[in-house]
Symmetry: C5
Subunit: 262 residues, 5 copies
């Protein structure tokens, strides 16, 4: 027989989203958010952290009106479509379904508000920036953007990372950033050059190295690089679903210049 | 003259769904749910149980806003589109109309809540899992997934059945499973390898054998196999409607890998 | 100068539908409902009863949100799109506009509730059942379905009519039947084999004969047969509109088998 | 410098429609309504009355949710999209934008209610009836339909006009007529044979002559005929927009027979 | 390290739109509104004013339900999609995202109401009017339209500008104008002949000269002309997005004649 399902010890609804806790969610300092996005960089980052550190499934997130009617089966265990795993003071949020455009504002705001209520200090958003010259890059570049001074101090431990000159962020990370500013949660966005429509484990590796520097997690990146081909294959369908969602939320706006320049 | 219609002795509305009882619905231990889905496995299972055991029509379920405006005529009797039949401590829920995507959450939650209110111990969901190699199988495999420990004990009487390694369930059974976990109703999902777009009575036969083991019903499977061709023909149009609904609810997600693997 | 418009003596709103009475609507025993449907059998039946018995326009039914913005002009008189005519203890409801799918539940329920409030004993629904072999029939067959025992007694005066073995009714008549069962109004459905997309006055004639037997109205059927060609021509456009609406409400479900059979 | 804008002296909201009065709107007996419709007959009629009598802009009508975001500029003056002009005891309502199907019920009911509140005696609706033989007519025929006896007396001064035998009116004028019957405002509909998709100033001229007889306005029709070509050209785009709206509100229903005939 | 983000010192919600103030917004006399529209004339005007005068980012405007989920990154700083900059008694409102048709009424009314609450005297709307003969013009013409007498006095300092004879304005500026009339804020609309689907910096230059005359700002126009090619290239994608939005709000109505003419 496989694994047994845990029971729900506490649940809370925020902006229509249910947060179902299988363990009490306390004493977490860093919440790494890894959503399916450009090159699935965030999703791969989240998956790799959880597997490497054997994090435990702590919180299920659900919303019948905003998500497809889905459960994940894993060796006899029932998993909710969006999940938070946890190990020590680091948590990682991943999802098996892309967040549809209409659900982005409430979902993103709920994640920030839940983090605030649970006393999380830093939300670390992880994502790719589509770079048409990605193929020519030996190693993708790492960029960061901070919601405030305290979050920017976190970035000081990053080697070789820079703030992007100019650009537009479209999607849940944009709302998480704006909500963090309003709610005084500290939010650091880590971005890596990435393929757009192909899962990019090498870009995720660059992000993982950054997370190692910031959190002291010490997650191996080698394995991620070794399994790159397998990951690309495995994530092909999620990439396709994500691509469809990105088109609908106006993601292509990221590839044009903002109106002001300096 | 045909059969006479029974009068409604009690009715109750749950999440917008009307449960119209033609007899009081008490002392039921097992609720077998047979919805139209992959290979119509659940629908065929439900139909076969009701006919074999000559179960009696006990509860009509309706929702003018969520279902097409439909009644079924059967030798002078008027039937509601979704119905619960019953014999002894076993009940079977079937439907003549597919549940549209927008109605899935409220319908599934209402079924669990109604079961809870009527003191039902086990909800047994019956469905197919599309297997591209189905044609090569002598006998389809049986799988199960349990909402909790008590439901998993029920599965211990199943011979030759296993928990699936990994996978995604999309549709009403996913919500029924999650609601059962929240409401502490015990839910066992029985899945059989199945054709996707062709009614698959052989897959239903495997499920019926499982139900026999669990409930002690002793329903003949031979007849089901004998009538296989007739059933396929008869259910062709319901299969077509179901296929259209499955496409709209993102059912194809069942054929990709979840993000985590172990 | 033509006819003068009557003034409204009483009006009542039920489920968003306005019932505007030009005379007080009392002492009616039978309400014949003739909606545009398969072969326009109901619509032709209603029209023929009203013209033959020179019934008087008694109630206008309207709903700005659910019906197109329409009035009918008839020799200087202004008519509402849905109307009830009356002669003695028999009333006939007809409509110049098809009921759109979204409006079917509220309209059908309002008709039953209005009938209940006005003390009507029997609602007699009149409709066609599409029969692909209709062309080969000398005379279309008549079928009936009753909501309860009292309604079925009404059918005992019908010669040569039978209850259909099995089938599905889709549309307003399905909701009227279910509401009648809930509200304890007696509802008899009269169905005649019919062409599907061609107005079928011969099928209507079979229904009219049935109504004669039940109500003692004694309406001539000869004239209906004589004017068949003219009626087909005149109703061609209403047939086209009705066909479009039937497609949208899933009417084709009537041509498949229900899931259970006996 | 051009004209100055008047200030709003009073405003009132009815069913979501704002009535902005630049002068107090009192002592008006006839409200001529000229909406864009078949052959733009009403719109041309309204325009011609306003220009011939040099009527003054008295009331602006607006609804941000139902109308496109529009203002009209006229020699420095800002005009609302729907406007009432006035001269003596006659007012004329025109619009630069077609009323969309979803807005027709609330708009039409608001016009009747506003008329009732301001003590207007007669609403005179002006419109075309598409006649496929219009090209063969020397002079289009004039028809009328009255909401009640008092309105029909108004029609007695019309020469050569008749009530139409049978027909269907689709659009705002249908709702205005039904609301007038309910609210006891007297409504006379003037209809002239018209081209359908081509602006038809000759049909408008026939209506203007009718209005002259009824109101004693004495508006020249000659000029309208003389400018016919210019008007057709100028109104080409409004005709196109109106045609698109008419298609969406089921206007083609006007070209079929009603279900009853006498 | 780049620029630091300011904190929000005050925020206020008007008609669903959040106004987030990074500095208190007081003592502003002129609010120049530069929305993406025909030829992006307003957007280019706003951008040029802000860059030339090095205005400071003072107010962010946001609405999760009405705008795409977006933030702008600028050298480490996080910017909201719609922003007000300020220098002395002049403010300029620009946006990186087009306002979708459904959001136009609430956005435009919120801008006027916010201006009223902050004591702004004049809202100056800046836009292009598509002129098919634009290519033949040495220098585009300047036009103006005033909401009231006080606003028209402002225009008296404009050389070579005139009120347009006739025309229709479609979009946010139409609602701003009508709301200004209702709320007694003074609104002057500056319009310049412009290309329709190509960014037109030369047309913006004509508007900037007008703003110089009115406000005494003394912004150089030379640089705008010199950078014309670069601006056209940079704004190509915003033009494309704007073009799509204009098509949906019925912008083509600007190219037809209003119903009345004088």
């Amino acid at each position: 027989m496989g694994l047994l399902n845990s029971s729900i010890v506490y649940s809370e609804e925020i902006y229509g989203w249910e947060f179902l806790e299988f363990e009490h969610f306390e004493d977490v300092k860093f919440m790494i958010v890894g959503l399916p996005d450009v090159g699935l960089v965030g999703a791969i980052t989240g998956m790799h952290l959880i597997r490497s550190k054997d994090m435990s499934y702590t919180v299920g997130i659900d919303h019948y009106g905003a998500l497809p009617p889905v459960v994940i089966m894993n060796r006899g265990r029932v998993l909710h479509p969006i999940r938070i795993y946890r190990s020590g003071d680091v948590a990682a949020l991943i999802t098996d379904v892309p967040i549809l455009p209409a659900a982005i504002p409430s979902f993103s705001a709920a994640v920030v508000e839940y983090s605030r209520r649970r006393g999380i200090e830093y939300i670390i958003s992880t994502t790719g920036v589509g770079n048409p010259k990605r193929l020519e890059q030996e190693k993708p570049s790492l960029y960061w953007l901070a919601s405030d001074k305290k979050a920017s101090l976190l970035a000081s431990s990053l080697r070789m990372a820079s703030e992007p000159e100019q650009g537009i962020i479209v999607g849940p990370y944009a709302i998480i950033l704006k909500e963090a500013m309003k709610k005084h949660v500290h939010n650091l966005v880590l971005l890596a050059d990435s393929f757009i429509d192909i899962p990019d484990p090498e870009a995720a590796a660059v992000i993982v190295e950054g997370i190692n520097s910031i959190t002291g997690l010490n997650v191996s990146v080698e394995e991620l690089i070794k399994q790159a081909e397998e990951i690309k294959l495995r994530m092909r369908d999620l990439m396709k679903e994500t691509k469809a969602v990105m088109a609908r939320m106006g993601k292509e706006m990221e590839y044009r210049a903002p109106i002001l320049y300096t």
